[in-house]
Subunit: 352 residues, 2 copies
């Protein structure tokens, strides 16, 4: 059984949406999932009661935690000081072998801090990255990092390409993922000192790590279907994620207004309704179920603070799926393959 430590206090609507999500997972009667709900025991118990869910069963236990890490807490300090916070307890449960993965919709920076403080980084990993998944016309494109690390080195940025490629291969079946490096233009003369450094490293690591490095790409290329992975720093990645979300929402709102603008358009909208709702759902980033934190020796899924209950349910199911697929082990293997060989390393640093 896959045991998921689920932070009950993480989302903007905690614990209500978390409890709705748990109720939904339990209703499906999956024998392979066990949930450990972590947070305010009284609130959780009462909330479960109102949903007609037993607080304790073969597939559900509650672990009390007296504290909560808030969105405006400084990440590292909160993790150190709030030892009994629901998020930190989740990571402790995995550390002590009582759970297999963490799912939380809380402070993503604090999740990174928990992972770094309580778990180990995989050998060769400088900084873990968070995976974001974008719908494209042909399928999905993975962006790494979407918020864990706002200030990085070229080495770290290049490694985000490796992390994204592993995820794309495992989750989207891309045997040789096409990886781009996000920049402000496709020409080599574009970019910053940071991207130029990462570009040189990615030229070397792509082939041994089993992906095709495509060089600099632009924001619009994320959606074009010609790329499986885009590497970027956590600041830019977070801005991209939220810009895409905002732009897609704005389009949907503009369409709503357009359909209301004339009787003819209204009738058109009603007829096309079911097809349009499918598009809306595909575009709703809050519906996608959790973004894994890669590069650490353990599985943690970061969910959007504004996640719906449905999205949180999806995240729990995604966590079990990623455990089944051995994601963490696969990441460790890829990082190892992408490491410069001793000879190359010497050549690079001039110590031959």
């Amino acid at each position: 059984m896959r045991r998921i430590a689920f932070d009950a206090m993480g989302s903007d609507h905690a614990p209500a949406y978390e409890l709705d999500a748990v109720a939904a997972v339990l209703r499906e009667g999956r024998k392979d999932i066990g949930i450990i709900l972590v947070g305010d025991e009284a609130k959780i118990g009462e909330g479960l009661g109102r949903r007609g869910v037993k607080s304790r069963s073969d597939h559900l236990t509650i672990r009390h935690a007296s504290q909560v890490i808030r969105m405006d807490d400084p990440a590292a300090a909160a993790v150190k000081n709030k030892k009994d916070s629901s998020m930190r307890v989740c990571f402790d449960l995995v550390k002590s072998g009582q759970a297999d993965a963490v799912v939380s919709a809380g402070h993503s920076g604090a999740m990174l801090a928990c992972a770094l403080l309580l778990w180990k980084r995989l050998p060769g990993v400088v900084r873990p990255g968070i995976i974001g998944t974008f719908p494209t016309l042909q399928g999905e494109c993975v962006l790494c990092d979407v918020g864990a690390n706002v200030e990085v080195t070229p080495q770290v940025l290049a490694q985000f390409g490796v992390l994204g490629a592993v995820y794309s291969r495992l989750m989207h079946g891309k045997l040789r993922p096409r990886v781009g490096l996000l920049s402000n233009g496709e020409e080599e003369s574009k970019g910053t000192e940071l991207t130029r450094g990462a570009h040189e490293i990615l030229k070397q690591t792509g082939a041994p790590a089993g992906f095709e490095y495509r060089g600099y790409v632009e924001g619009r290329d994320i959606f074009g279907g010609d790329l499986d992975v885009v590497a970027t720093d956590g600041f830019t990645g977070n801005v991209v994620l939220k810009t895409a979300e905002g732009a897609a929402q704005a389009v949907v709102e503009l369409l709503r207004a357009a359909f209301a603008s004339s009787r003819r358009a209204t009738v058109g909208g009603l007829l096309a309704g079911p097809a349009l709702r499918k598009v809306k759902k595909k575009l709703d980033y809050a519906e996608t179920g959790g973004a894994p934190l890669l590069g650490i020796d353990g599985l943690a899924l970061v969910c959007h603070g504004r996640s719906s209950a449905q999205a949180l349910r999806n995240a729990v199911l995604t966590a079990t799926r990623l455990l089944d697929k051995g994601l963490v082990h696969k990441v460790a293997e890829a990082i190892e393959k992408a490491r410069p060989k001793p000879d190359e390393k010497n050549a690079d640093t001039g110590h031959r």
Copy 2:
């Protein structure tokens, strides 16, 4: 008469779209616009002939330029070495008083380099910024910088807020623009060293420069209608511009597929067609007519390399409108107001 130096060789479809744009402007019979087409004289003459436009008239002249700055040219070197490039000649024409503004769809970095090399920066301006305009549900939001400066200091980033505010006031009638600083979260603990520095400066400069500083904002806030201006560095701004463009296009494509997915949806799409086309047009960034480069002592409009003829026509008209409104003078005034007073400066640096 407003004399526009128009780079005939700038866009991806140069000079065809540029010549279409000129033909369109001339057809409107505006007495207040004079265009100086700069580029390969033979090609321009032949192209105009095919469009039934006289090469020389009261409102059109051609200025030959033997070179072209290409998208893969390193900006600064190209401007220095290609002295007879169509873009550089445009800036020279303004410098020598033969034209009042420049419009080009060429290399935006090279345009910045031209402006810095041949024109003067306005007093107090550290680095000029390019303005991008985004459609929102309530109107427009201005982003500055969208590509001129990829590596900036906190002072430069804060000044982009001032530049954006002037533009918003002048072009969108916002008397007291609401200005946000783009970050990876709204909390003060978020951001980078760069954004934290700019944040402290903007807290001080907002009131004297006549805008309301709203602090950190996220990518999605650009589209929400609660902001008139968002300040960011040129790397992130360029990524945002292209991500929004890509996301909006992807939504339009997904809708196209949705309308084709069933007979019912197709009929709906036909009925709603006119309303939907209006939305599509609003979202098409290639349709917006040029982004001004602000902070320099002269008016230059940067157009998208993929601009349509219609967009280039719009840019020429926008340039005359901005000349009429005295944009450059207004920017100079605002920069002056946002400068720290001698007293404050002493207080800040501890030299009182």
